[in-house]
Symmetry: none
Subunit: 247 residues, 2 copies
DNA sequence: ATGATGATATTGGTAAGGCCACTAAATGAC
DNA sequence: GTCATTTAGTGGCCTTACCAATATCATCAT
């Protein structure tokens, strides 16, 4: 009746304990498989199995030829999106939400149009207040995603907004960008609403592209302000390539 | 040149696919490690690694000396996305992946183009074999997402493929659709590759749209076969609206 | 006939060793 | 100084082998 506790599980527990105790920080490299093999006095395959258990749980990332690196610490619930920069997020929104807007234009109901109109007013209000949030903005865009009548589309776009929240640095950057770009935002949202009201897919797509391109530009400006030269250059390069795509 | 996609992950995906397509029921015993080793033409340690990946996810339970037993079917618990139909998924891919292809056209490297060429060959091979999987197809599309150099875009598209696998009914429908639409798939993928090779964003977007529209049509056909009238009508309506969007 | 017992086959568990591919840092050539 | 090359070090995967737990079934005592 001896339960043959699987060895790899025991090793995996020990490794997780080691992470939890703070022996390693995020980004640190774990010892090589051969070293761990000697340290815990088990074979390398067993170490590999334990490592896979950790990898499946998102705790570590294994890079071929380099080693195993800590991705997140145990106890912290998963943040699937990691090094997603504010620029990447907005670029993704530009691609996806523009298409969603086009699709929504063919499906949207009068009730949803009324809701969107209210959201536009909310956005104007938010912008007038000093420490305003971006909640109305978020709801505006999610409502459009909802109007596509496609669960997969909605979930994907919702996921992008979650990613935006998960990165503090990203949120900060967005806040600065919003500050530098207040008035146009209201007009741009109105333009999107107008296109949807006319059930015009192409116009809706175009208006959404214009809006998010504007946000992208704001991000560029904010990034320059932060004087992170490296990031600025990378972003600028990306901006150029985007212009080629959407032209 | 060979992407060191970890072999155990590939095997794990195939096993999960097998579970999703209904090859096994809850409580069933999976083939022995040695059998699976021969079946998938990999070593036993690799099978063990894949099995551990499934075990950590709670899909199977391994009993020493007896075998591995199905604990639950994939896609029930872990995915918040539930009622995502095969049509919705493909429609979302049509919207998103087309834009991703356009973006990738401006960024793709020669190495990535070579990899894509290999994937096209793999897809042809997969289609020739009887019980072929859709692994090559998946890798083709994910490679394009990767070529966008945008983590957010990649994650979103990867999420769509995960959703696809999480719904057994969806996987089944796709299998039927694939059967009814073999030859064009290879040509369509070739067309996408050619557009990317020319670094032509518009052509890439167009080729991807053509491809996924074709998949959408296959789904319609398969749905009709299943004689689910209600679903068919809903899908047909959506198809019409999509034609309006993309025109 | 029936139930207990033990031999044997099957299955997963682990170890050891080997070779390959990839990575990155040290080294050398220019 | 810059760039290409070399060289350890690393993980990826395979092969072989043996051990341990379990399942199966023939055998035997009742």
């Amino acid at each position: 009746m001896t339960i043959q506790d699987r060895l790899y599980q025991e090793i995996a527990r020990k490794l997780i304990d080691a992470l939890a105790t703070g022996a390693f920080k995020v980004g640190d490299r774990l010892p090589a498989e051969r070293e761990l093999s000697a340290e815990y006095d088990v074979s390398r395959p067993t170490i590999r199995e334990a490592m896979i258990a950790l990898e499946v749980q998102g705790l570590v990332e294994v890079r071929v030829g380099s080693g195993a690196y800590v991705r997140r610490l145990p106890g912290k619930e998963d943040n699937p999106g990691f090094n997603v920069t504010a620029f990447e997020l907005t670029e993704a929104r530009l691609l996806f939400e523009s298409e969603a807007a086009a699709l929504a234009a063919t499906q949207i109901t009068d009730e949803e149009l009324a809701e969107l109109a209210q959201r536009v007013k909310d956005i104007a209000l938010e912008n007038q207040t000093e420490g305003g949030t971006e909640e109305a903005d978020r709801q505006f865009h999610l409502a459009i995603a909802q109007a596509t009548r496609n669960t997969a589309v909605y979930q994907a776009i919702e996921e992008l907004w979650k990613l935006r929240r998960s990165s503090p640095e990203s949120a900060l950057l967005h806040a600065k960008a919003r500050f530098a770009n207040i008035k146009p935002v209201v007009d741009e949202h109105s333009a999107i609403l107008e296109a949807l009201r006319n059930r015009d897919p192409k116009a809706a797509r175009s208006a959404m592209r214009t809006h998010l391109s504007s946000v992208l530009d704001s991000l560029l400006f904010a990034t320059e302000e932060k004087a992170i030269e490296e990031a600025r250059r990378a972003v600028a390069a990306k901006r150029d390539r985007y212009n080629r795509v959407s032209s």
